[in-house]
Symmetry: none
Subunit: 401 residues, 2 copies
């Protein structure tokens, strides 16, 4: 459903929608015949919502596609995740809360090891510590370029963010990372005429950086990839006619929300406090994105029990959400992170949509297997969630007479 | 599935398809935990078809989209309802059985109230009676324009149809309705060079109309919108290789059917008589669209019981349909009209497809909740119905070797 079409039928009103995203919610049984993390969790409040509402499973990007957090969040927010691809550099900036301007160029940097001939011998410089990274970044911050400001910010271990700020910059630059050891770094060449100035600045930056790092073995080189600028996308408000707020403790999720025009409500990293922020700001917005991060992290750690426990913890706060009397509640994940796999996966993600206007199905339990028989369908595209949320909130007018 | 592809695989033969559309069929429970109108109805004959056939639910336009009757009918007839958008003026013409020619320009007119300065103070002129509308239309019918014929026809209350007939007319004209009270009417300007003649004629028409109406307060002005010409779409016969007939008592549905090349079989406004027309014309066509209108009207009236009763009434005639021995029977609605909402809604619409060649699922009862688990899927696009009907009728050849 393209944005121009949706904008035609959007009918603003004063109803409220809450979208609760349990990051990495979908899972797998640990053993054949067993339950998933969600199925194993005791979730009486979510089950009640599922019983009164309509359930299903969404596919964030497409069948079999393993989504990163950027695409999967954009998809549940109604943005086609393939058409709206966020560059790696911009994601890095979002992840460290860097205030990227529309004319900045950002890239993901890796500290790496180079031999005397300039050949890359370790693309991650032996995964140096985050503390060592910070020391190296302070050295790089001293670099001055003619006609552009340089920002360098530590992410984690060998990873950092590089931002150039100035007039007439472009992100049409190839990655300098050869992606294999035993090869030389690739010079940052312009892909278009407009990128000539940027590539010249980058070459100068790299030369100075390598001088400064020459004694810092194993982190004596840097590789840059994912050059990107802040995307100019239609905002949530423009497309869906909503005044949206994001309640997310992690920088990258706040950044993703900001990217599509959500207002960011500061919150501590705790699900109970997140619900507190929701309660405090209830009157001021009509769409709330509430993000529960640790469910995904426990999946990534392969900790089945902890993932179940964290789902139960979210469940305990559902009555607070219902007390606010929202018109539409959506509970889902952005993608699956089965603890069995210790990683994001392609498996469809359980969804429940609750509203006084939904048509109930026969589902009485919020879990992967139950949701297959739900009224939303067993594998529907995640981008369909937003139009459904708007419809149930009375925010879409009739198409055609 | 685009038309060029379908045309490649269509294989005409002498099988017969009946598509029975119960207008506004889909519903909602009146109370949490209750049944929908269809679920509450006693429908032994439809249930038998469902048991022998294959079931599911379709979405007429897309997830969350509330379809008007035009788009929803076009969708079940296999025409992409977004690409095949019927202008408001043409729908008005269809609704009053006006015989629109391909070079005519039609618009929906509203009688409105203007103050002395020409500001719109009531966009519907206090919803004047249909009788008053007829008197005013006879006045407007007297207007003569140079080089174009003028047709004015009452629809209902404040609404009428305006048609200009002549050489070189265009529908590239903006609405004159400001859509808000307190604003002046907008002059009918051409959106392209080709529309200059039409906009000049319309300006003259409006001037003369306002002179004639000057003493008719509150209906002392008119607003025009939805300028449109008869669309030039491929016919049902061209695309699907069928010889189709429409049995529909309401003008708009006959008009929609005519738009895609169906022959119109005159029928009284009574479901039993509609089946009589079907029986009488059985030998002459190979596709029959049978339309039961009142189910939608009872939903719009919020009359749950009456909607159930009317569904039961249709059910009683199903044995007459089976006796004709059709190759494919499809029973569905064009959209949902839950009596709880008293309006069209976005909820998916139950479908049953019966044919000796369908692969039965486990559904034994024709109802919303049951259909979720049907073999056609819980939410499939309505445009998929026609290819499925053709396949089950042995009217599609193999694609590829």
């Amino acid at each position: 459903m393209d944005f121009e079409f949706i904008k035609q039928v959007v009918k603003p009103t004063n109803t409220k929608i809450v979208m609760l995203i349990m990051d990495g919610l979908g899972g797998l049984p640990e053993k054949p015949g067993g339950k998933t993390e969600l199925e194993a969790a005791r979730t009486p409040n979510l089950d009640k919502l599922a019983e009164e509402g309509v359930c299903g499973l969404h596919e964030p990007v497409g069948p079999g596609i393993i989504p990163g957090s950027g695409p999967s969040h954009l998809a549940v927010f109604g943005y086609d995740p393939i058409a709206h691809n966020v560059g790696r550099g911009v994601l890095s900036a979002l992840g460290v809360d860097f205030d990227l301007k529309s004319s900045d160029v950002a890239a993901r940097g890796n500290f790496c090891t180079l031999d005397k001939g300039g050949i890359v011998t370790d693309r991650r410089a032996g995964r140096i510590s985050t503390e060592r990274n910070q020391e190296l970044c302070s050295m790089l911050k001293e670099i001055k370029l003619p006609g552009a400001e340089v920002f360098v910010q530590t992410e984690k271990e060998h990873r950092f963010l590089l931002v150039l700020r100035g007039e007439g910059l472009s992100d049409e630059i190839n990655d300098t990372d050869p992606q294999e050891v035993g090869k030389k770094q690739i010079p940052p060449e312009p892909k278009s005429h407009e990128a000539k100035k940027t590539s010249d600045l980058l070459k100068e930056f790299l030369e100075k950086a390598h001088q400064k790092l020459s004694d810092s073995h194993p982190a004596n080189g840097i590789l840059l990839r994912g050059f990107a600028m802040y995307p100019d996308w239609p905002s949530f408000q423009q497309v869906f006619g909503l005044k949206p707020a994001a309640i997310a403790a992690y920088p990258m999720y706040r950044g993703l929300a900001k990217l599509i025009g959500m207002e960011i409500l500061q919150t501590p990293d705790d699900i109970s406090e997140e619900f507190g922020v929701l309660e405090k700001n209830w009157e001021s917005y009509d769409f709330f994105y509430v993000h529960a991060k640790h469910i995904d992290s426990s999946g990534e750690d392969g900790n089945f029990k902890e993932k179940s426990r964290l789902i139960e913890e979210v469940d305990e706060h559902v009555p607070r959400l219902r007390k606010l009397n929202p018109d539409v509640i959506i509970v889902t994940g952005d993608h699956s992170t089965p603890s069995l796999m210790k990683s994001h996966s392609w498996h469809p993600v359980p969804v429940l949509l609750w509203s006084p206007l939904c048509r109930p199905d026969n589902i009485k339990r919020f879990g992967e297997r139950d949701c297959i028989a739900g009224g939303l369908g067993a594998r529907f595209p995640a981008v369909n969630l937003m139009p459904l949320a708007l419809a149930h909130a009375g925010r879409l007018g009739k198409f055609g007479a």
